[in-house]
């Protein structure tokens, strides 16, 4: 027995199931699944530039006859949705599993969409485990179901399952023989004539599954006190067990399709039936549509996470006094020495409207930098700025710039740039190139020169890429050199056509050796250095600034901000 993260257990399950090919793009809370799979020599695993490409790689491996998996966070499913909906038609050859990680409560996401609706809308079965042991077992089952029913199969997690550890019993890997690929355009070439036939198969398979889930052991009834019956799935099942130890429970393992007749039978045994689910009333609406009376979202919010406390207070009315005082918040901030900080300082100083993107640099929106205006989804910064420019007059449009990270640019920013060139935008694009995928914990990407497995690969040259798609100018500056950043951004704004500024400097957390910490001597209390929002510069009670030497990494960004030359030491 071993303690494992939910994500590690899913990787283990895929390994034991004989998975051969895994492709993914990092995204919290799914990233560690792929990182853990990469450790097994028997499995080919890679980072793809985005979830759509990753999905297509997994489809190809499945058609070729091996078990394959693709991993993503919930918003990644949006990116992969195009191949996904049609892969549901073609079905599989080798088993194909989609790991999709939802983030109720938005610990590290821009929305809290409910991926279960994708299962229903694409007609792809979905399983949801409730602890690490189930995470491993359900993943193995997902591969079996995929081959048995000729369909991709989802394994859905939420943050609390993905990032919780519990015991797992390991088993040996089963090597699965490659199933020969046989050309069959009625199955693998989706055009109207063949897709019409496949849609029939999708419906047939789903009807069969609806019958078969009724007898699957992953759906089970736990009869106890019959005055209250709870329908739930995933980690919420664990909350219910703690909150209502006496209640009867129907635990759903196949969240799509659900075993509706078994739930109907359960509903007849209990006096009061309550669906307890996070996010949308996905189960509740299906129960009601099938004539099963129940409660659910009349009691529980669609927003955020559920908890043991929430379930107790709503169902047995138990409440405790809150002891909370009015305390200063501690929001996440860019690290000391972060190469993004100086760029945002400059953008704010220039009074620009900043269309930013997804990554650590989203934190450029937080006070005191407060430099970011818009953030929507991966790669959106460029299209949004272009839209702003086309909507405004020439002079006003000059005030709008795009900011995107290197990994996000490769993920889905490149097409936005091509669009801006094609459609004659006077776009200024700032690429914050920190040579890694930062927020998710430093994963490699096509411009780092290393693959997921750590083997060297050709380095995607961002400068040449931007030039070759038609950018008028591409300027590379040191992200720590604020005067150079300012000069480059100003000249890019004044230029006709698309201009790119690449602010380059590796993520501060990747550095092994830092220059010595700085110090302040003779502070005049003007507060200029505090405006850069560095966690290492602290305002003291008397109004003077102090550098916290345990946090300062000597980046020197603040040195030039002090008109009195009071900040000493560190790198010039």
């Amino acid at each position: 027995m071993k303690l494992m993260l939910g994500n590690e257990a899913i990787a283990r399950g895929a390994y034991e199931a004989g998975v051969k090919v895994v492709s993914a793009y990092p995204g919290t809370p799914s990233t560690e699944v792929t990182e853990n799979i990469a450790r097994y020599d028997e499995v080919y695993a890679e980072w793809a530039p985005n979830e759509k490409v990753a999905f297509e790689v997994a489809i190809g491996a499945s058609y070729a006859g091996v078990r394959s998996m693709v991993c993503m966070k919930h918003v990644g499913v949006n990116v992969a949705a195009d191949p996904m909906f049609t892969a549901a038609y073609t079905g599989v050859n080798g088993g194909l599993v989609i790991l999709a990680a939802d983030d109720p409560g938005m610990h590290s996401s821009q929305n809290e969409q409910d991926t279960r609706f994708y299962a229903r809308s694409a007609h792809i079965p979905m399983l949801e485990p409730s602890d690490s042991m189930e995470a491993k077992e359900f993943t193995k089952l997902a591969f079996e179901l995929s081959e048995k029913y000729d369909t991709p199969v989802f394994v859905r997690t939420t943050t609390r399952l993905a990032h919780s550890q519990s015991y797992v019993e390991e088993c040996d890997r089963t090597e699965i023989a490659v199933k020969p690929y046989q050309k069959d355009i009625t199955k693998y070439t989706m055009m109207p004539s063949s897709a019409i036939g496949r849609h029939v198969k999708v419906e047939e398979r789903e009807n069969q599954l609806k019958v078969d889930v009724e007898t699957m052991s992953i759906n089970r009834e736990e009869l106890n006190d019959l005055s209250l019956g709870i329908v739930c799935s995933g980690v919420v099942y664990q909350y219910v067990k703690d909150a209502l130890p006496d209640a009867s429970i129907f635990k759903i393992g196949s969240v799509y399709p659900i075993p509706i007749e078994s739930i109907r039978a359960f509903s007849k045994k209990v006096k009061r039936l309550v669906v307890v689910e996070e996010l949308e009333p996905f189960f509740e609406n299906q129960l009601k549509a099938n004539g099963i009376q129940c409660e659910g979202k009349n009691l529980f919010s669609k927003l955020g996470e559920l908890s043991v406390y929430e379930i107790k207070s709503k169902l047995i009315g138990e409440k405790t006094e809150s002891l909370k005082a009015d305390l200063p918040l501690r929001p996440p901030v860019m690290c000391a020495g972060c190469p993004h900080r100086g760029v945002f300082y400059v953008l704010k100083k220039l009074g620009l409207t900043v269309s930013a993107d997804i990554g650590c640099y989203t934190l450029g929106a937080v006070a005191p930098l407060s430099a970011v205006d818009t953030v929507v989804c991966m790669g959106a910064s460029i299209g949004i700025a272009h839209g702003f420019k086309k909507a405004l007059g020439e002079e006003a449009a000059k005030k709008v710039v795009s900011v995107i990270g290197d990994s996000t640019f490769i993920h889905s920013g490149i097409t936005g740039l091509i669009n801006a060139v094609y459609n004659g935008s006077n776009l200024t694009l700032i690429i914050l190139d920190n040579s890694t995928t930062g927020m998710t914990g430093h994963q490699n990407h096509p411009a780092t020169g290393l693959t997921l497995k750590g083997t060297p690969s050709p380095i995607l040259d961002l400068v040449e890429l931007c030039k070759v798609v038609g950018s008028k100018s591409v300027t590379v500056v040191d992200a720590y050199d604020m005067p150079a950043v300012e000069k480059a951004v100003k000249s890019a704004i004044d230029e006709e056509g698309v201009s790119v500024v690449i602010a380059k400097r590796p993520c501060a957390l990747l550095s092994k050796k830092y220059p010595p910490a700085l110090s302040i001597d003779g502070c005049k209390k003007c507060g200029a250095c505090l405006k850069i929002g560095c966690p290492a510069i602290e305002k003291q009670k008397d109004g003077s600034a102090r550098i916290n030497s345990s946090l300062c990494v000597g980046c020197g960004l603040c040195v030039g901000l002090c008109k009195f030359n009071a900040i000493k030491g560190g790198e010039k």
Binding site: M1, D131, Q165, D242, L329, A367, K539
Partner: protein
């Protein structure tokens, strides 16, 4: 035996390592255990909370509000932030170090230096440790987490030998000696 521990602190202080040592400890003691961590956005200098639950059988991996036996805090203000999780009769074991959050750094808010006094006034037992000094004395300011683990072991009366075995199994060999010192300082001083 059921022990619910909430480990709180600031992103980067090593709450994750501390919870993994406790996980190993529970394993060695033959207990069921679940841990819950925070990754991604919340790690960037933000307030972080890690849940450790051990018992004969653990269901939810998340410590429920009002049910923590102990809040193990690596930073003073964070001890106060999560007080709602503490059960009646539960204790707070905290580092007295102050790490200023951004609203304080910029001067928008004041650091509530008296927050531990207010907890004590509410009748809650608070164990205070100058973990940063003790960690530095052991050889690294990064060992605050292990100092606090030493303090936790003492004040919860946990099996010290098993905790040391869990520590040895979890930290890298080259930092073991320093961590053993840090643990001992947390346990005794």
């Amino acid at each position: 035996m059921k022990t619910d521990i909430l480990i709180v602190g600031v992103g980067g202080q090593g709450t994750l390592l501390a919870s993994r040592i406790l996980g190993k400890f529970a394993f060695l003691k033959g207990l069921d255990v679940k841990l819950s961590e925070v990754h991604g956005m919340s790690q960037r200098g933000g307030s972080v909370v890690t849940h450790v639950k051990m018992a004969d059988k653990v269901n939810s991996p998340i410590v429920a509000r009002g049910e923590a036996d102990v809040i193990l805090s690596f930073e003073k203000l964070e001890a106060a932030r999560y007080l709602d999780f503490l059960k009646e009769g539960g204790i707070v074991v905290t580092n007295v170090q102050e790490i200023l959050p951004m609203p304080v750094i910029t001067g928008a808010k004041e650091y509530p230096s008296d927050c531990l006094e207010n907890i004590k006034k509410a009748g809650i037992k608070v164990v205070e440790k100058d973990a940063l000094s003790l960690a530095e004395k052991a050889g690294s300011s990064k060992a605050v987490n292990v100092v606090m683990l030493g303090a936790l072991t003492k004040y919860l009366g946990l099996d010290k030998a098993a905790m040391l075995e869990a520590l040895k199994a979890t930290v890298p060999a080259k930092f073991l000696e320093m961590n053993l010192k840090a643990f001992e300082y947390g346990y005794t001083e």
